[in-house]
């Protein structure tokens, strides 16, 4: 199971300290509002895929807007792989 905290940690790492420390990141946070580029979002997706040995639906991955959507996509991929 991939958690919001896990993905939020990856995002903070991806932004390499450029995010103000008091920035709240939760399920409703829009990745764009954090100033993430498409490449940075891709890096987070690729990292999750590699760490969890799964592959996300690319069409859904391209449409991800919020952290919650990304977590849901990741867990759907894990569930599909387990079946």
């Amino acid at each position: 199971m991939i958690t919001v905290d896990e993905v939020a940690g990856l995002i903070r790492g991806e932004l390499r300290g450029k995010l103000p420390a008091d920035t709240t990141i939760d399920e409703s946070t829009r990745l764009e509002d954090l100033g993430m580029s498409s490449l940075q979002v891709s890096e987070v997706v690729f990292t999750l895929e590699e760490q969890h040995e799964t592959e996300f639906d690319p069409a859904r991955a391209a449409d991800v807007k919020t952290l919650g959507e990304l977590v849901a996509l990741a867990n759907d991929s894990l569930s599909a792989a387990a079946q």
Binding site: P20, E32, D33, S37, L39, S42, E43
Partner: protein, 241 residues
């Protein structure tokens, strides 16, 4: 590779756009960049750096529209995050660290536009293998060995971003990194992208690819595609891929 991007009196990206395209750019965020209330709402919850980036990029879009003779209007993100332009206008926006730009044109002169700027820095480890076809990776290795002043892997990524930005308004469909084969022209600052999926019908012809141009400075790589509304849609450089 150019020494100093700021040496250009107008916009840097203008160098690689046809005369029918108006453009504006900025190398730092302006403190006085004004947004329309509708645009403000888009970044109401964004962190400060994102708000400044968005405001400067929109200011570039408004300036480019003015150069085109079109009154500034709110440029809001639409489907797929692509900016929505006034009727009769096509355009594109890009922003990366230290650079924001916008390009616009009349839709009766240019069918679609795609611009992208990236740092002239190597892609993070593992990304090239995810975004590039084998022939593209081979070309990146070859060009890197010949001319390391340009980060060819990043330039390839930028070209694919411009391809997507030019593709989406025509199709409203996703285009994966693997769905277009990009052939960079090292010496002449051009590139050709051959679609590996069915292209849209444009002016009664099937669009099978895009021709683009690129430039590199010490800090940036920039790519641009402008498909003219008349004449051939065939890339000027035949893809070798």
């Amino acid at each position: 590779v150019r020494d100093d991007a700021r040496a250009f009196s107008r916009s840097l990206i203008e160098e690689i756009l046809p005369a029918s395209v108006a453009s504006a750019d900025a190398f730092e965020d302006a403190a006085d960049a004004r947004l329309f209330p509708e645009e403000e709402a888009v970044v109401a919850r964004a962190v400060g750096s994102r708000r400044r980036q968005f405001a400067t990029a929109r200011a570039c879009a408004h300036r480019a529209l003015a150069e085109l003779g079109v009154a500034a209007v709110p440029i809001l993100p639409g489907e797929g995050g692509a900016p929505c332009w006034p009727p009769g206008v096509v355009g594109s926006i890009t922003h990366t660290e230290g650079y924001r730009a916008s390009a616009v044109a009349h839709a009766n002169e240019v069918i679609t536009l795609g611009i992208d700027a990236e740092p002239n820095a190597r892609l993070p480890r593992g990304i090239l293998g995810r975004i590039a076809l084998e022939a593209e990776r081979r070309q990146v290795r070859e060009f890197t060995a010949t001319d390391p002043s340009v980060c060819w892997d990043r330039l390839l990524f930028s070209a694919k971003e411009s391809v997507y930005k030019a593709w989406f308004p025509l199709t409203r469909r996703r285009l994966g990194f693997e769905d277009a084969a990009v052939d960079l022209d090292r010496g002449r600052g051009g590139f050709a992208a051959r679609l590996l999926v069915a292209g849209p019908e444009v002016e009664a012809e099937t669009l099978w690819g895009f021709a683009g141009r690129w430039l590199a400075t010490e800090r940036l790589v920039i790519t641009a595609i402008a498909v003219p509304s008349r004449g051939t849609h065939m890339p000027s450089v035949e893809p070798r891929l």
